[in-house]
């Protein structure tokens, strides 16, 4: 082969050239005349009339619930033995898990296997209310279309069904809300002669005072996956604001965001607000007894102070959400709060809807529920239950009810979790010693990036 190089090489060159030309021509042709790589975004399919699957009276329904709501489902099974049920425990969409979404994607592909009733996070409704493939049917059944009476839906706390509403339909029933309010340790506050703050300015001033008088004590933490919902949602920061169904406004340079960031930066540098999360490893052991105040959701009482920090009863008290001095309207945030959805593929919509209605609205279930009910009537029963109030040092009913009606609706339920950007971009920066104010641009960039990959148009004004 190497003995006669010249003709071979020449031929090889021309061959190479031909190949190159062919390849580049092919590439151009391929690039020019082909279809778009975008996935079908078929938001109109939600509007087309909902076609239920063939109904089979009395057929068995499959229920997916998280471990916290499992006892409720089991209680229903016990009191309604005629309903055939299969109960499955799963993570319930906690901490941004996408287990349910992954599974439904696969069920949509195989055309079977969907559970009839699921407990999930509000984010789950965003994809469940849309078809995952062209011509498909959204996973969640529109409950307002003949399944649940209007009067029942109207009985939920103001704004609590907003995350369920898409294309003019209601796709879920809210199980609980997690309205944000101010928690404090009453004996400590009384002993040290501090007044419970009612405005953010007072909160900041008190935090600086505490740092001076009692170093090591904390008035809050920003280090959890959901801390931004406690602070920035309450501060009405337009971080996740859907101005139109497909247009997301994220503007972290808005004064409502920067003033909250500045306030927190001051308290962080004074060491009155921790950058380590309340729920992070070791916090309860090392600093749990040093939490003077916390700004967070209604479930902090039972799940953070009682179960996590093991604070003795009659110490922790709740106060209404903080306002900004000089502003008339108070707004607060919301940290979680699950929803129940009924599958549009269910062969027994009657039993499925019956279960979901009982779970979300009945006093029988909700009075003893682990978290604050979204259904207003059930919330009254919940607050009347001694088990839900005896732990606290004050009467929490007033602050709870007030906060439940003040949840700001400008923080939209988007197709992506609002926690990802906060925990993977902002929190590591805070841990590395950066300030919140200087991290806001990176946070905004990450939100905008996520939103674009989910098909949103992003505006920052």
């Amino acid at each position: 082969m190497e003995s006669s190089p010249s003709p071979r090489t020449g031929r090889r060159h021309s061959l190479l050239r031909t190949a190159a030309v062919t390849l580049s021509l092919a590439t151009t042709a391929v690039l020019a005349g082909c279809a778009s790589a975008d996935t079908t975004t078929d938001s109109s399919s939600g509007q087309s009339a909902f076609k239920p699957a063939a109904q089979k009276e009395g057929s068995r329904i499959t229920v997916w619930a998280d471990s916290t709501r499992l006892p409720s489902v089991q209680a229903y099974q016990k009191s309604h033995p005629d309903v055939k049920m299969k109960i499955v425990t799963y993570d319930g969409g906690a901490d941004g898990s996408t287990y349910l979404q992954s599974k439904v994607q696969l069920f949509d592909r195989t055309g079977s296997g969907w559970p009839d009733v699921v407990f999930g996070a509000p984010t789950d409704v965003t994809w469940a209310s849309e078809a995952t493939k062209p011509g498909g049917q959204p996973f969640a059944a529109p409950l307002d279309a003949k399944l649940v009476p209007r009067s029942t839906l109207d009985g939920f706390a103001k704004g609590s069904l907003t995350p369920c509403e898409f294309n003019g339909h209601t796709y879920c029933m809210r199980n609980d809300i997690a309205q944000v309010l101010l928690w404090y340790n009453k004996p400590l506050m009384d002993n040290w002669g501090y007044k419970v703050p009612t405005t953010w300015q007072e909160y900041e001033a008190l935090g600086e005072q505490v740092a001076k008088d009692h170093p090591g004590y904390l008035v809050g933490s920003v280090g959890d996956t959901n801390s931004h919902e406690s602070y920035f949602w309450s501060g009405q920061c337009p971080a996740f604001n859907l101005v139109k169904p497909d247009t997301l406004r994220t503007d972290l340079r808005d004064p409502k965001c920067t003033r909250m960031a500045k306030l927190l930066d001051n308290l962080i540098s004074a060491k009155a607000v921790a950058t380590q999360g309340f729920f992070s490893q070791g916090f309860a052991k090392n600093s749990g007894s040093k939490v003077l105040m916390a700004y967070g959701p209604s479930w902090y009482g039972q799940y953070l102070f009682k179960a996590g920090f093991k604070t003795p009863a009659k110490q922790i008290a709740a106060a209404p959400p903080l306002a900004w001095k000089g502003e008339s309207t108070t707004a607060t945030g919301n940290v979680g709060g699950g929803v129940w959805m009924v599958s549009s593929h269910s062969a027994n919509l009657k039993a499925s809807t019956g279960l979901v209605t009982w779970l979300t609205t009945s006093d029988e279930n909700q009075a003893t529920a682990p978290t604050y009910p979204a259904y207003a009537q059930a919330a009254k029963a919940w607050l009347a239950n001694p088990a839900n109030r005896d732990y606290f040092a004050n009467d929490v009913s007033k602050p709870f009810e007030q906060a439940a009606n003040e949840v700001w609706t400008g923080w939209s339920n988007t197709r992506f979790s609002d926690s990802t950007a906060w925990s993977s971009v902002v929190l590591p920066a805070l841990t590395a010693g950066k300030s919140l104010t200087e991290t806001l641009p990176a946070w905004q960039q990450e939100i905008a990036g996520e939103a674009k990959t989910q098909g949103y148009k992003v505006v920052d004004q």
């Binding site: 901490d95 062209p134 841990t431 990036g449 990959t453």
Partner: protein, 312 residues
């Protein structure tokens, strides 16, 4: 070790001319039968999915041909470049550490340690590899959390007081490299030891006679003679390295989201498929990974003559 010995057993008789028996009757019948099981599984779970991935990567969810548009789309994704950069940094650290430490350890175990002790160490090194990937990550979650770690003094002396500080974005390649090395290196040490065993004693003795010390023997005789095994290890380690998924995914969950859910390319493909419902985009990423893996393998094979039969 076992691989090499088996090879010798199988190859040697056929070279000595005992082949007529094999060629005579039933050539293949039983052979095909034994190969069939693997071949079927390979077709079902290896070849078919790869073909399907190619089909998906060049079409959209309406089944239309998209040419290279899927690739253009995923490459322009703002998470694509960071994910591949993370993978690249991790790969370089992991491959260099693997090759250097594994070969060094194997040489020491072969030449400088008494056989009994050497066997014990090989066994000890191998144990972590027997744990499944998930279990080994869980072990490391304890090791890296200053609150529960048995070596928390080491972490705190490096200024890492919380788990969150340990998992700072800049530390991740190092952490993942440690996990990968801890689980994967032991197995390779055993293999390398076997490869060193295969070097005839006469060769080593000749080197000694010529005045080569242990390090000269290692550098000039032993390592060149197991070069193909080192290449083989590099190719395999490269392939597993590009498929990094379980470790960062678990760190992401365990750190309550402080690690990006799209840290590695495989995770990005997972997010594409199961959160965005874009199986075609996910397939495009997997095809890119396949291309990278094949390219690296081809390069290494060509440079090292891995598949050239040596005439001993």
């Amino acid at each position: 070790m076992t691989l090499l010995e088996t090879e010798r057993v199988i190859v040697a008789p056929s070279r000595r001319g005992t082949t007529p028996r094999r060629e005579g009757r039933g050539r293949g019948g039983a052979g095909y039968f034994f190969v069939a099981g693997y071949a079927l599984l390979l077709l079902a779970f290896g070849v078919f999915p790869t073909g399907y991935a190619f089909y998906l990567a060049f079409t959209n969810d309406r089944g239309q041909f998209t040419g290279l548009n899927q690739f253009v789309k995923v490459i322009q994704d703002y998470r694509f470049a960071p994910a591949f950069t993370h993978m690249l940094i991790y790969l370089v650290m992991w491959l260099v550490t693997l090759v250097v430490l594994v070969v060094l350890t194997a040489v020491i175990l072969r030449s400088r340690v008494r056989p009994g002790t050497s066997a014990l160490f090989r066994f000890l090194y191998y144990i972590p590899g027997a744990l499944a990937g998930v279990a080994s990550v869980l072990v490391w979650l304890f090791m890296l959390d200053p609150d529960v770690s048995p070596v928390s003094w080491l972490l705190t002396s490096m200024g890492l007081k919380t788990f969150a500080a340990v998992l700072a974005p800049g530390n991740l390649p190092l952490i993942l490299m440690l996990i990968a090395f801890w689980t994967g290196a032991g197995g390779w040490m055993v293999v390398m030891y076997g490869a060193l065993n295969n070097i005839p004693d006469e060769v080593l003795e000749a080197a000694r006679m010529d005045g080569a010390g242990p390090w000269q023997t290692a550098w000039h005789i032993q390592i060149p003679m197991i070069r193909q095994w080192i290449t083989y290890m590099t190719i395999m380690a490269f392939a597993t390295g590009t498929q990094l998924f379980v470790e960062p995914q678990l760190l992401q969950t365990a750190s309550l989201g402080r690690v990006s859910p799209t840290w590695s390319p495989n995770q990005l493909a997972y997010v594409y498929a199961f959160q965005q419902g874009d199986f075609n985009g996910a397939a495009a990423i997997s095809v890119v990974l396949l291309a990278v893996g094949l390219l690296a393998a081809a390069l290494l094979v060509a440079r090292s003559n891995l598949f050239t039969l040596d005439e001993k």
